[in-house]
């Protein structure tokens, strides 16, 4: 804390002393509020407070009701009411009086009225409607102060539906001569944007004007809107980069009036805001980032002053530098900055340093290296917050080599903490790391035991679920057996000890595992021992009913030997009279099954346990029933979130399947088709199937977040490929920041000589990072397969050969390959961003590989950048089915699409006009559909046909008007209408006439407003023959969602981020496509890609991630992400999107596409 502050403080008499000095009377003799505050301060118990406040509220109630109360008194009363509510006592009777005060009071009273309203009411309160007129009146007042307070309250809360009533008045204020009014008007509009964005769409140009306002305050206010807009859609605002850079430069350069300074730093919070905006603009955009390098550097340079606020700016600046496209020089400076933070003796700065480090190590784990010793010190810091932040940092740099040390540190922390939230968070992280990087079975089981003991009953339920699934999945190979056996042994010894402290969840896990896998140890011990341990558990008083039922279930599986049967009988007798129906049921089962060996063998076959029972999670056996019900008019199933959505939007149930104006035959078939996606998406909720459970949080599925994006990764992955023969690649990561010449020991922590122990800890914590350890970051990437190894086993049918002693090694090469492919794919996609997708020729690839190999020993930053440039816009088309981005524009490479889009030339048209020749030149190269005849008149003198051209950013619909008569057509007007579509004509001039025996083309771009499975487009062509009556031809054309889908090229990392940010999801099992020469997953995804223009982002093991977008106008599109996982014989698909309708509709098409295949 600065000295200035300290001085100020000491000058202030203590606030509290005022309370206890009993001086309230002296301080504000007439103040009832003063008395109230004083009274409350002197109280000693909650009960007394309650009595006092109740009394106070009574008195307030009496006063507000009295007709003699003046507005001035009312103001004083309101403040007291605010005070009471602040203490948690409702004073709802005063709300109406607050509104009255705002309506009738003179200025100060009015302001207090507004204040009370904003504190009492929430945004959905109906009382607010009563305020609309007052606000409107005050907005139009000639008294600026009244305008001001009305705008203030509007920007705090306003009923959404009433915005149109005041919007014009607020807009008008944007040109008010007083800056404060303009500023508040901008803030009010910002509020409108937050609560009803579509209401202020039309005034975007006015936002721009506000941004350019001559007053810095108004400009600052507009930045709130822009931060929001740019965050949501950076692409549309790239043109603002220049302005933002200029503004920041001016602010940093001290061009603002002096009163914007805070402790001689010019408008620090404005700087921070601008830096945030720049981060959004420059993210993954080299061109835009280059525009801001200078100003970022200047910000770093200017913020040298030793004050907290400059550090706050620096922190933001560092974050921005690490978010935008990297520039080595800046990265170095930023890293230096972080170093200063971390090493600072000021605890707040240290915290911020750790936070910054946590952020940047996600880009480059090596950045942690120079600070090893500091990090170690922070781990043992007396301040628990610092410790916690350090663990967060370690979590980000965990790899297979340091996992045991880091997890131990985390568990150590967990044992001491008593905060539920930290526990839940950390336990989840430990479980994630254990599953990802576990070095061996023993460690894994022991760590999970700690997780279960420490996480107890507060941890996320998916941790035990995932763990059980992990044990249960997989083929019966040696390794799996060992894992299970070890788990069983470990649990038996746990149960032999004190069980009273074990959490219920852990006991349930134990019961399940023992029931399932005790047979593995049966040979070596006496058969009844496990049974007895379980029975002992039942005797414990603290065992919950739920746990008891798990225990009984386990016993049912175990009661094979005579000893066990006898034990089971005792237990049954005890529980068959239980008041709890579940327990009674379980006891009955146990009783019957333990006595009837044959029945037991059939119900619980010993050898069948390894195979997971076939669960038809798609509930296909219900299909008949469902289609009958649908035919009888039942509403289709909606998943809970959809229903929620419907309730929120207060719209009627979606009648989509019925609403389709399709021909009768089509519509009935669409209903039967449709039942599956809508009706069966409940599978996840119902089946209790472990696959589905694993999806929660996605913590163990395909690691979306875990894929690190490392600067210059481009380079190092290629190196890996070139060094493919060496199992442990020793290549150096070309880090733009840490040149290998500067070993981390150059920066010892504040001159302290670290002791041996800490050194050791450091070496174990940071192993796998950096050059000096002789194992580079690659060690980190290399371990990822381990994570993927666990889940796919058993499912990857090739697993039979995997049964060698250490599968982590045996499977490594394949998995590394796999990862390599995917990462390569990932990195090239990153490189290709913004550029048109082109194919990489093998020469190019090898050229790049060569590049990296040469820079291998001595990587410089320049090299990295050169490579990126040289690589240019690249996209990789690979042979093994992993075709990156094949937009419809490049369908030549994709036989399936080609087939679909370029049908045999034999058209069904009566007169086979060579319509192809009428395709506009600019569209001729693009993928298109066949020509669909739309209609023709009786004598075929006029024929209409349509064709769809799949442009990257739109669907172009071409309507061909073929005039087969001698006479020309005049006064032609073509109208296309469909309420779900946005149709715009792009023909240069709307055609009026078509000469005899010729063909004209009308071009329209079409995008979908709202995702729907299929839409019907109605068309009307009116025309006139010479000497004839006006005529019209009607036609209809159905367009399906798939025509509007385009591949969404994202990297795995971005996919992960998007995934987490999307809220609408849907899960469904689909059938797998099986072909002879492809893996089922690849084949299925290929089929989907071909038919629906999806982009396969990555395939790893038995999981694949796919992305697409739904066209919504130029430069826009709604993304939808699919996460596919092979489970048994089906493909578990999980779709996520920011829009509710998209997953549902897309799923329908996926299903259809796969059925057709």
């Amino acid at each position: 804390m600065s000295d200035v502050v300290e001085k100020t403080l000491s000058a202030l008499p203590s606030l509290l002393s005022l309370d206890s000095q009993a001086g309230a009377g002296k301080l504000s003799p007439s103040s009832k509020l003063g008395n109230l505050i004083k009274g409350i301060t002197e109280l000693t118990s909650k009960h007394e407070e309650e009595t006092l406040i109740k009394k106070e509220l009574e008195s307030i109630k009496e006063q507000v009701a009295s007709p003699n109360t003046t507005m001035r008194q009312m103001k004083e009363i309101m403040v007291r009411a605010i005070y009471c509510e602040m203490l948690g006592y409702q004073a709802s009777f005063s709300y109406i009086h607050a509104i009255k005060l705002a309506q009738q009071g003179s200025v100060l009273e009015k302001r207090v009225g507004y204040l009370a309203v904003s504190l009492f009411l929430n945004e959905t309160d109906e009382f607010l409607l009563l305020l609309v007129n007052t606000v409107l009146k005050d907005l139009q007042s000639t008294n600026l102060i009244e305008v001001c307070m009305a705008l203030t309250v509007v920007s705090q809360m306003f009923p959404k539906d009433m915005i149109p009533a005041i919007l014009p008045v607020v807009e008008e204020k944007l040109t008010h001569p007083k800056e404060i009014i303009r500023r508040k008007a901008v803030l009010a509009l910002y509020k409108f944007y937050l609560i009803a964005p579509n209401q202020v769409q039309h005034i975007h140009s006015k936002f721009r004007k506000a941004l350019c306002d001559k007053d810095p305050g108004v400009m600052t206010a507009s930045l709130h809107i822009y931060l929001q807009l740019i965050k949501e859609n950076p692409e549309s605002y790239k043109d603002l980069t220049g302005s933002m850079v200029t503004i920041l430069r001016q602010v940093v350069g001290g061009k603002l009036p002096l009163d914007f300074n805070y402790h001689s730093v010019p408008a620090p919070w404005l700087q921070i805001q601008l830096l945030r905006i720049l981060a959004y603009l420059g993210k993954e955009d080299q061109g835009t980032s280059e525009m801001m390098y200078d100003v970022l550097e200047e910000s770093l340079r200017r913020a040298e002053m030793n004050h907290n606020i400059t550090y706050a700016i620096l922190f933001e600046c560092v974050k921005t530098i690490y978010t935008v496209h990297p520039k080595s020089q800046l990265l170095e400076k930023a890293a230096e900055c972080i170093g200063n933070f971390v090493l600072s003796p000021k605890i707040n700065l240290k915290y911020l340093g750790l936070k910054a480090l946590t952020y940047v190590v996600q880009q480059d784990a090596n950045l942690a290296l120079p600070h090893q010793m500091t990090i170690i010190e922070c781990l043992d810091h007396s301040d628990v917050i610092i410790k916690r932040e350090t663990l967060e940092l370690l979590f980000r740099i965990t790899n297979a080599q340091n996992v045991t040390v880091i997890v131990e540190k985390m568990l150590e922390f967990l044992r001491l903490t008593c905060d539920d939230y930290s526990t839940i968070d950390l336990v989840g992280k430990v479980a994630e790391l254990a599953e990802k990087y576990s070095p061996d079975n023993v460690w894994f089981i022991q760590t999970m035991n700690s997780v279960f003991s420490l996480g107890g009953d507060v941890m996320q339920p998916d941790i035990p679920n995932n763990f059980l699934r992990l044990l249960a999945e997989g083929v019966d190979n040696v390794e799996d057996r060992q894992l299970r056996l070890f788990a069983v042994d470990s649990y038996v010894s746990l149960l032999q000890g004190e069980t009273a402290k074990l959490p219920q969840r852990f006991l349930q896990v134990i019961s399940w595992v023992l029931g399932e896998y005790s047979y593995l140890r049966e040979e070596e011990s006496d058969p009844g021992s496990v049974m007895r341990l379980l029975a002992r558990l039942l005797d414990q008083r603290h065992t919950s009913t739920e746990t008891r039922s798990w225990v009984l279930g386990a016993m049912t599986k175990l009661c094979s030997s005579p000893v066990s049967v006898a034990l089971a009988r005792d237990v049954c007798e005890r529980y068959s009279g239980s008041l709890n129906t579940v327990l009674r049921q379980k006891a009955q089962e146990l009783m019957i099954l333990s006595q009837d060996t044959k029945l037991r063998a059939r119900v619980l076959p010993a050898e069948g346990r390894l195979e997971s029972p076939e669960v038809d999670s798609s509930l296909s056996f219900l299909d008949g029933y469902v289609s009958d019900a649908l035919a009888a008019g039942a509403a289709p199933y909606k998943s809970p979130h959809q229903r929620q959505e419907d309730l929120v939007q207060e719209k009627a149930l979606s009648l989509e399947p019925y609403g389709l104006s399709l021909p009768v035959s089509l519509s009935s078939c669409s209903i039967t088709d449709r039942r599956s996606p809508t009706l069966l998406s409940m599978s996840s909720g119902l089946s209790g199937n472990s696959t589905e459970l694993s999806h929660q949080e996605g913590s163990t599925t395909l690691k979306l977040e875990g894929v690190k994006r490392v600067w210059g990764k481009d380079g190092y992955l290629a190196q890996q490929q070139s060094a493919g023969e060496t199992p442990t690649p020793l290549v150096e990561l070309p880090s733009p920041l840490l040149s290998p010449q500067s070993p981390p020991s150059q920066k010892p922590s504040s001159g302290l000589e670290p002791d041996q122990e800490k050194r050791q800890l450091a070496s174990s914590l940071f192993v796998g990072l950096g050059s000096h350890n002789s194992v580079c970051l690659m060690g980190r990437a290399e371990t990822a397969p381990r994570h993927f190894r666990r889940k796919p086993r058993g499912e990857s049918s090739s697993g039979a050969s995997e049964g060698s002693s250490d599968s982590s090694h045996s499977s490594r090469s394949a998995a590394v390959d796999n990862l390599l492919h995917s990462n390569l794919l990932d990195s090239t996609t990153v490189a290709s961003e913004g550029g048109a997708a082109t194919t990489t020729t093998p020469q190019q690839t090898s050229q790049r590989t060569l590049d990296h190999t040469t820079s291998n020993g001595n990587p410089h930053v320049e090299g990295t950048e050169q490579r990126v440039e040289a690589g240019g816009p690249l996209s990789l088309i690979r042979g093994n089915g992993m075709v990156a981005v094949v937009p419809p524009t490049h369908t030549q490479t994709d036989p399936q699409t080609q087939q679909d889009l370029h049908p045999a030339p034999a058209l069904e048209r009566p007169r086979d006009l060579p319509l192809t020749s009428h395709l506009p030149a600019e569209l001729s190269g693009l993928a298109r559909s066949e020509f669909t005849p739309l209609c023709s008149d009786q004598d075929s003198s006029l024929a209409l046909s349509a064709c769809r051209v799949y442009k990257e950013d739109a669907l172009v619909l071409l309507v061909f008007i073929s005039n087969n008569n001698d006479s020309a057509l005049h006064q032609m007007v073509l109208q296309l209408t469909c309420k779900e579509l946005e149709i715009s004509c792009i023909s240069g001039s709307p055609l009026k006439e078509v000469k005899g025996h010729s063909v004209s083309v009308c071009l329209h771009t079409v995008v979908m407003k709202r995702a729907s499975v299929q839409v019907e487009l109605a068309g009307l062509l009116s025309y006139q023959r010479p000497l004839g009556q006006p005529q019209a031809a009607q036609f209809s054309l159905s367009l399906s969602l798939k025509h509007f889908l385009r591949p969404l090229t994202v990297s795995t990392g971005d996919y992960g981020k998007m995934w987490l940010s999307f809220s609408h999801d849907l899960k469904q099992n689909l059938r797998l496509v099986t072909t002879e020469h492809q893996e089922p997953l690849t084949a299925t995804l290929d089929a989907l890609k071909g038919k629906l223009h999806l982009h396969v982002v990555d395939i790893i093991g038995s999981e694949g991630i796919v992305a697409c977008r739904l066209l919504q106008g130029p430069g826009q599109g709604q993304p939808c992400l699919l996460h596919c996982r092979v489970h048994a014989d089906s493909l578990a698909v999980w779709l996520r999107s920011p829009v509710p309708e998209l997953p549902d509709s897309l799923l329908y098409h996926c299903q259809k596409a796969l059925t057709e295949t």
Binding site: P13, S14, S106, L119, D259, A267, A312
Partner: protein, 144 residues
């Protein structure tokens, strides 16, 4: 994003609270008690930021008064820490160091906060501009 601002005395009694996210009135006291407990239990040499559930607390002590701000974890802690100080400097300026009057003028402190923070965002930090509306109000009231 700022979630709430609290002014609390050393006994943990709330002197002022302002929420930018909907929290039921009934739930506020227990939240405040919990928040204050965490901040009051910190030692002087410990850092001024506390993790609390899924967000963070930034607190600053001025003699017997604690100011605690709840923020989302994407917010810049140190900038909020300084914002609190800016706020205190504004109070200091307006109330001319007569701290006693601060708490008896709950309404005016709220009016000041409304100028600085709206919808959880920092909207004004220029001291003159923060105080301008309030000073104008005072002038009008005097004239009456």
């Amino acid at each position: 994003m700022i979630k709430f601002l609290l002014m609390v005395n050393k006994q943990g009694q709330t002197r002022l609270s302002k929420y930018y996210e909907q929290v039921d009135i009934e739930k506020r006291p227990s939240l405040e008690t919990d928040v204050v407990k965490r901040c009051l239990s910190r030692k002087k040499e410990e850092c001024s930021f506390v993790e609390y559930k899924d967000f963070r607390l930034v607190y600053r002590q001025y003699a017997a008064l604690f100011i605690v701000v709840g923020i989302s974890d994407t917010e810049n802690e140190l900038s909020i820490y300084e914002l609190v100080h800016n706020f205190v400097e504004v109070l200091d300026k307006y109330f001319s160091r007569v701290v006693s009057s601060i708490m008896f003028n709950l309404d005016k402190v709220h009016i000041i906060i409304d100028e600085i923070i709206q919808n959880g965002h920092i909207v004004e930090t220029n001291k003159n501009r923060i105080l301008a509306p309030l000073l104008a109000l005072d002038k009008m009231a005097e004239a009456h």
